[in-house]
């Protein structure tokens, strides 16, 4: 706490950097109980929304005083149907018509794959005190680069996939690197630059899809299909969409965990994130740190683009990134900016996506409720005092200061 007052005292440019310091501490502190409770509260609020907008509930509430149980049972069936469908869609649904449809868990893993990559991208930048809102643009650039070599070249198996992966990482790294370079050399705030780069990326890909990357056989702005050799192999045969990108994602989690916790570079990043002035005093090149961390972060987001184009989508269009880039921010926050935390948060959000589709079909609850629940989770996690006051938890000790 005292450190914040220090920063308020000196509103000169160096004080700006301490914003990142505060951010790191904020995200790293707190514990698992708060996270679980945040998920619970968010689900409860989502449930209230589902119940309130359900016509059966409003019909039953018309005679609430005559038969209060009818209202309550209508509320119960409304919420339990929606969340039941969500749960079954994300894990195992015995009522589905086909046996492939029953195993929603693999859809969860498929949706989680790009989220793991992009969540790691945001996580890594967070730890160096940078807020990478630009995962969206980096995913688009990654997918564009990967696509360009994926359908533009014809290489032997394995080699082609490797080239696609490298190209995607390069595309993302360029887009992330711009933000890192401008932050390091001119002090331009990375949040602003990455937001703007997101929109430039969309315009750029739309332009390329009308010209260089357009499928000549289609009238829509869409690219040709990826070469068969350029695709991630499917892990469980043609019945499921889950692909080898998941294995690469797990390797990336291990890699980022090693980078952050075991390597010299990771130590520098954490030092810069914790206190850039001290890091500079200790002889670290803060500007080089900003550039390299954004290059790696962008490359990770670029791999999310590869997972999209070489895993699930198989051709490039302007919607290739969906909402993954923004989900990545919430994933990283929920994962408390730790690699394995991000991994599990990505699984949870993958489950929300897989289950949300089933909920929309089977319980007539729009998938938008998932966005509401996700954002509420992050809001509550970011404000532990709020959750503590809801559940009357006493703050037993000061957390996270040592991080």
């Amino acid at each position: 706490m005292s450190q914040q007052i220090e920063t308020a005292k000196t509103p000169s440019p160096p004080a700006k950097e301490s914003e990142g310091t505060h951010l790191v501490r904020e995200i790293m502190s707190g514990n698992a109980v708060i996270s679980v409770l945040a998920v619970v509260v968010a689900l409860v609020i989502g449930g209230i929304l589902i119940a309130v907008t359900d016509p059966r509930v409003s019909a039953a509430s018309g005679y609430f005083f005559a038969d209060p149980m009818a209202t309550l049972s209508a509320i119960w069936s409304s919420i339990s149907e929606a969340y039941g469908a969500l749960w079954r869609g994300a894990t195992y649904d015995p009522t589905a018509r086909t046996w492939q449809g029953q195993l929603g868990i693999f859809e969860t893993l498929t949706f989680a794959t790009p989220l793991i990559f992009s969540g790691l991208a945001v996580t890594l930048a967070f730890r160096a005190g940078l807020f990478n809102i630009g995962a969206q643009g980096q995913i688009i650039l990654g997918a564009t680069f990967a696509g360009a070599v994926g359908f533009g070249m014809h290489l032997p198996p394995v080699v082609h996939l490797l080239v696609v992966i490298l190209a995607g990482a390069l595309g993302g790294a360029i887009w992330g690197g711009i933000a890192g370079f401008l932050k390091a050399k001119t002090g331009a705030h990375e949040v602003i630059v990455t937001i703007m780069l997101n929109y430039i990326a969309i315009s750029l890909v739309l332009y390329l899809l009308k010209n260089q990357l357009k499928d000549p056989n289609s009238s829509n702005p869409i690219s040709p299909q990826m070469d068969a050799n350029a695709l991630f192999p499917l892990l469980l045969g043609p019945n499921f969409r889950v692909h080898a990108g998941l294995i690469l994602a797990i390797l990336a989690v291990i890699g980022v965990a090693w980078l952050l916790n075991r390597s010299t570079l990771g130590f520098e990043y954490r030092a810069i994130g914790a206190n850039p002035k001290a890091a500079r005093t200790a002889g670290m090149l803060v500007s080089r740190g900003y550039i390299t961390v954004m290059l790696i972060s962008g490359a990770l987001a670029g791999l999310a683009g590869v997972a999209q184009i070489a895993g699930t989508e198989k051709s490039l269009d302007s919607e290739i990134a969906g909402s993954i880039g923004f989900d990545a921010i919430t994933v990283a926050l929920l994962g408390r900016s730790k690699p394995w935390g991000t991994f599990f948060a990505a699984l949870l959000f993958g489950a929300f996506k897989a289950g949300g589709t089933s909920m929309a079909v089977n319980a007539d609850v729009s998938i938008d409720i998932v966005a509401v629940v996700q954002s509420l989770i992050v809001l509550f996690i970011a404000a532990p005092p709020l959750i503590r006051s809801i559940f009357r938890i006493k703050e037993s000790r000061r957390e996270g200061v040592s991080a």
Binding site: M1, P11, H22, E26, F131, Y199, Y207, I369
Partner: protein
């Protein structure tokens, strides 16, 4: 602009000592661009700007500009101004405002003539260009004014997009239910304030990082309005979506003034929201830079500790400003459903909240600067849609990139010096 004027002498002296060559370099690059593109690759023939519409009372002859010659004039002017900026930076350490302004205006005019001259038809109706641009500019101005109010007091407002969307949704819903557009307008302001309230509670009371709150609020509002849109607005009664049929705000042309060519249809044939926008720009500018209220807000945004010391309640000031900003953005959101189009649709703000953020930064956290930036971005956006079929020399997608690219150049110091309030984004904890 006034930021630099308000700096203390010592800091101003520092500025003189540190010569930034970015602006002269930028001018030089743009001048070379003008020589190559406007002159060497420039179109032949004429660019015709139609100033009057057929039904206008005062008919003004068309403005016909020979494209090549105008290109040469712009290129020579740009070169001269670039040289002048280099000279000024070398001798005085700063570039005077008129050089920057003239350069900007000249370059934009050159670009416009080049684009129009390069199309198949080589003509454009300025009235159409500007009235169409106002459809984009109006919400942008409200959004960026919301940003001005929040950020001048030290709270970063990334949630402009969410505020606009909440305003658009609520305006449509309430106007449909009450059949009263003003009720919708009022409700939109309240909805914007609700989003702001969340932003204020989380960022000021719970000291959550303001950027996180903003990003998350955008997702929350997008999800919430999308969910309610599916659940409520798509409900049909007798085949009509009764909850998404907002009563519109009428256009109120001002007599005489609305007959002025180009300016009249653009500024004086608007709905009440449009006039409110013009008033608000002036009021917020005057309030911020000429009143005690504004001085306090800027103090809180620049140096909260000092403001606290002289007895200003920092967090209350911020709270009120964020709420006021929400109301402003909410009204801007109402423009979508009460004026621009006739019903709400999912995520209809389409990222304009982020362009508003760009306008705010490009306009240097100044209400008038932000409004001019919003106008520029609106014209660029509308030009893109007008020219999408006309075979332009430049692809529309590059015009679409313009606001974002300019903003990146502005924050990295290549186009003027865009500096945020010093305590922007910093939570204040009294102690």
């Amino acid at each position: 602009m006034s930021v630099t004027a308000k700096l203390s002498p010592s800091i101003a002296a520092d500025r003189v000592a540190i010569r930034s060559w970015r602006t002269p370099i930028m001018f030089g690059v743009l001048a070379v661009f003008a020589v190559v593109v406007f002159v060497l690759l420039g179109p032949d023939g004429h660019a015709t700007f139609r100033l009057s519409q057929d039904g206008d009372a005062w008919q003004v002859p068309n403005l016909v500009v020979p494209a090549k010659i105008f290109g040469i004039v712009v290129a020579v002017g740009a070169l001269a101004l670039a040289a002048r900026s280099y000279q000024q930076m070398k001798n005085e350490g700063r570039i005077s405002k008129w050089v920057t302004m003239t350069f900007a205006v000249l370059f934009v005019m050159g670009l416009l003539v080049w684009i129009i001259g390069g199309t198949n038809t080589q003509n454009i109706t300025l009235v159409g260009l500007f009235t169409g641009a106002m459809l984009i500019t109006t919400p942008l101005v409200f959004g960026s004014l919301s940003g001005v109010l929040c950020e001048r007091s030290g709270v970063v407002n990334i949630a402009i997009e969410g505020q606009l969307l909440a305003g658009a949704f609520t305006a449509s819903l309430v106007s449909s239910i009450t059949h009263n557009a003003f009720a919708g307008l009022f409700a939109a302001a309240v909805a914007g304030m609700f989003v702001s309230f969340l932003l204020a509670v989380f960022s000021i009371k719970y000291v959550v990082n303001q950027i996180i709150v903003g990003v998350v609020l955008n997702v929350l509002i997008s999800g919430l309005t999308g969910f309610l849109f599916e659940k409520i607005m798509k409900t049909k009664v007798d085949g009509v979506t009764i909850f998404n049929q907002p009563t519109q705000l009428p256009n109120l042309p001002i007599p005489v003034l609305s007959e002025i060519p180009v300016i009249g249809p653009t500024l004086f044939r608007q709905s009440i929201i449009g006039y409110f926008m013009l008033v608000l720009i002036v009021v917020i500018w005057f309030g911020l830079f000429r009143t005690r209220w504004g001085l306090r807000i800027r103090a809180v945004g620049e140096h909260p500790k000092a403001a606290d010391t002289v007895g200003i309640n920092v967090n209350r000031t911020r709270f009120l400003n964020v709420i006021a900003g929400g109301a402003v953005a909410g009204v801007g959101g109402a423009y979508f459903t009460l004026v621009a189009v006739s019903s709400f649709s999912k995520d209809m703000t389409g990222g304009l909240g982020f362009i508003a953020l760009a306008a705010l930064i490009f306009g240097r956290w100044n209400p008038i600067g932000a409004a001019l930036a919003a106008l520029l971005f609106g014209v660029a956006g509308n030009l893109q849609s007008i020219l999408s079929l006309a075979g332009t020399p430049i692809d529309g997608q590059f015009l679409a990139m313009l606001p974002y690219a300019l903003t990146i150049l502005a924050v990295s110091g290549f186009v003027g010096k865009s500096r945020a309030p010093a305590a922007d984004g910093e939570p204040y904890i009294k102690g």
